[in-house]
């Protein structure tokens, strides 16, 4: 096999738990009621365009981006707007959401619902970016940064490489893996659309080595298209982190505080790339996504194509219901995802997985004294010393000390807390430290 790319600093090897890798994507049934948050991205909440009693179709724009750092929100179902008010979200905090009562499934007429793959791109870069904006696309890897901003290159900057992030380094997650297997050509077309928008001919799809089927499919297809290459990365966490991936593919490290575009790279998730294809070439805005439902508390795990706004409890019901002994429900992967309180909260553009966990396998051990093993510093992909950060936080050191420890460079991957044999929640201390330095 050809060279396998990876990053040299830190990182850990996790149990894969990828039991759903062979499960094809299944269309989840429509919910009875869809609850669509108007803020599913970083930045300002979108401005609501509909009001109570309005009839909407699937794909209708219901909230318009408010400013540059914001994103459009579309209705994922057809039906009647029941209410627009604050609803308890997954974490228990309230967010403004549009509640829609589902009646049938009528799509906006301009959406191209044919299965044919469009292979022609006749749009200018400006038109493509405008379409991406109209599609309400955000980074689907978890950050939720609006994609049109990322694809608009700032003045006096030059981009020469587009990296499509097909790495799913977190345990359990298989949504991107399945997407690459089943929609391989669409992803390649999406990469070409992005290439065109950026004015380059150089896209790299990075896949980790534990996805042989996706690698095979995409490698075969990429030979038919100019400007799209496949690179295989080692399976290591957090290989899918933006900074780690750039280091692996280009050999360059991003200096602290810099964005990928500063060294000529743009990184996009495969889910985002697929959404770009659908929006730009099929006129279909982002209103559904692939969600992995898995975990040891899950009866029928699988990968589902879910309309955004479907309550999490519906998805759980779909996969066999909630067993009484499930202790934790996690949105996203077990390393960076968040445990939720409210199962009535909706799936959003950023939900890559719903994990149902139970039992001792995932119990955390009781924190004990630091034995100074230094493993946290060994595994930190940012080269930080979490033990020193913890010490500084515990001593209420001034934010200047924390800044000197480069706390701001922490990518919150959780390698330190995962590895600590004393079970010290190091990541929590790093997060507190980051809050501290942001205060001033």
């Amino acid at each position: 096999m050809a060279k396998k790319y990876t990053f040299p600093m830190g990182g850990i090897h996790l149990d894969k738990h990828k039991t759903t890798a062979a499960c094809p994507i299944i269309q989840a049934p429509l919910p009875a009621i869809a609850v669509i948050p108007i803020k599913q991205h970083i930045g300002a909440p979108a401005k609501i365009l509909v009001s109570k009693g309005d009839k909407v179709k699937t794909g209708t724009l219901i909230a318009d981006a408010d400013g540059i750092v914001s994103a459009d929100v579309h209705s994922s179902v057809s039906g009647e707007v029941l209410k627009i008010e604050d609803v308890e979200g997954a974490s228990g905090y309230v967010e403004k959401m549009v509640t829609i009562k589902v009646e049938g499934d009528v799509w906006e007429p301009e959406i191209d619902r044919t299965p044919e793959i469009v292979r022609e791109i006749n749009l200018t870069p400006e038109e493509i970016i405008a379409k991406i904006r109209e599609g309400g696309i955000v980074g689907m890897g978890g950050a939720g940064y609006p994609t049109p901003i990322k694809t608009t290159i700032p003045e006096r900057k030059k981009v020469n490489l587009l990296i499509i992030n097909g790495i799913e380094c977190e345990p359990f997650l298989t949504a991107d893996d399945r997407l690459m297997i089943e929609k391989a050509e669409q992803i390649i077309m999406g990469a070409r659309v992005l290439n065109r928008a950026l004015g380059i001919q150089n896209a790299v799809i990075a896949i980790d080595e534990n996805k042989p089927e996706a690698i095979e499919r995409l490698t075969a297809l990429s030979k038919l298209y100019v400007g799209v290459n496949i690179k295989v990365c080692k399976t290591k966490y957090p290989q899918g982190g933006e900074r780690q991936l750039i280091r692996a593919i280009t050999g360059k490290e991003l200096p602290s505080g810099k964005l990928p575009v500063d060294i000529g790279c743009i990184v996009q998730n495969v889910g985002t790339t697929f959404a770009v294809y659908e929006t730009v070439l099929k006129n279909k805005p982002l209103f559904e996504r692939v969600v992995t439902v898995s975990g040891n508390g899950c009866l029928h795990s699988g990968n589902y194509l879910v309309r955004i706004g479907t309550p999490i409890s519906d998805i759980i019901g779909q996969s066999g219901g909630l067993a009484t002994d499930v202790e934790k429900i996690i949105l996203g992967g077990p390393m960076m995802g968040s445990a939720i309180v409210n199962t009535n909260a909706p799936i959003t553009k950023l939900t890559s997985a719903v994990l149902l966990l139970k039992g001792d396998e995932f119990a955390k051990h009781e924190p004990s004294a630091c034995i100074r093993c230094g493993k946290c510093a060994l595994v930190c992909p940012a080269g930080l010393r979490p033990f020193a950060i913890k010490q500084a936080v515990c001593c209420n050191d001034p934010s200047e000390t924390l800044r000197r420890l480069h706390v701001g460079d922490c990518i919150e991957c959780g390698c330190c807390a995962y590895t600590c044999p004393a079970g010290i929640p190091l990541l929590d201390y790093c997060k507190i430290a980051k809050q501290e330095i942001r205060k001033k």
Binding site: D86, E88, S91, V94, P367, P425
Partner: protein, 275 residues
């Protein structure tokens, strides 16, 4: 033999003399000129170094006091020592002082186990800051107490303790010096430094801004924004479904009435607390 003794005496004596000369000049050069007034003020101050006055510590406060003119001095206040200490300092400086009402910290939450039953188990570090980040809390109220006691840890005067039964911090009125450390540390801003009138105090012990029904779902003692209290006194205002009773409301006249009229018991009326 004699030579040896004499040499020894000379050498040792010389060394001692040289050292004395060096020490003399060093002590002159590095002498710290302490302001007499500053030292006197510092002696009056409680020396808790809590920073409640907004200065770097008691020494800093003393220096600022020593330099201040009458106008600037009127804005200086040591919450720990209170009026008594400020009066002493003023007398030292020859200024006159006005009485400031005594203040105390109050907790604006009643989300204990009975009012707000626990719905989810918390399984992370025992810090309110982290708990506030990851979810709305064990009882579901996004504005209520998280029961993890960051305020107790930060209180330098031992005036706060976590009550095991209710899960809420309890303020010891005798020990609280209203330094404001708890106000700063609480991620949900549940503490308020309120002046005490001779008749006691009355305040809304809730910060929940959700609509009445939503707030009540999580906590029986939540303010539901029913506005009944505003009818008694027009200084009381409802904002975001939450009532706020300003300290200017006459406690003697309205305290008991307000407590009685509140349908959820969110208004707390306390008669004379301290001294």
């Amino acid at each position: 033999m004699d030579d040896l003794i004499i040499t020894n005496m000379l050498v040792l004596g010389g060394t001692a003399f040289a050292a004395a000369v060096i020490l003399y000049f060093v002590s002159k050069k590095f002498a710290i000129h302490a302001d007499e007034k500053e030292t006197q003020i510092a002696e009056i101050l409680p020396q808790a170094n809590c920073g409640a006055c907004g200065k770097a510590g008691c020494a800093d406060f003393a220096a600022i006091c020593a330099r201040a003119d009458e106008k600037a001095f009127a804005n200086l206040y040591c919450p720990v020592g209170g009026a008594a200490v400020m009066q002493k300092i003023a007398r030292l400086k020859g200024f006159s002082t006005k009485d400031k009402p005594s203040t105390i910290a109050v907790l604006r939450c009643q989300g204990n186990c009975q009012n707000a039953p626990i719905k989810v188990a918390y399984d992370a570090v025992s810090t309110c800051r982290i708990a506030h980040r990851i979810s709305s809390g064990q009882n579901g109220c996004p504005n209520g107490c998280l029961h993890l006691g960051d305020c107790v840890k930060v209180c330098k005067f031992g005036a706060l303790r976590m009550d095991k039964k209710s899960g809420l911090p309890v303020i010891n009125a005798a020990k609280c010096v209203s330094c404001g450390a708890c106000v700063k540390v609480c991620p949900r801003g549940l503490f308020e430094i309120r002046p005490q009138s001779p008749d006691g105090m009355v305040y809304v012990a809730c910060r929940n801004k959700q609509k009445g029904a939503v707030a009540r779902k999580n906590c029986a003692a939540a303010c539901i924004g029913c506005a009944k209290c505003t009818k008694l006194n027009d200084q009381i205002k409802i904002e975001d479904n939450l009532s706020y009773i300003p300290a200017t409301v006459d406690v003697g006249e309205f305290g008991a009435k307000l407590q009685k009229i509140c349908p959820t018991g969110a208004i707390v009326y306390k008669e004379k607390l301290r001294g």
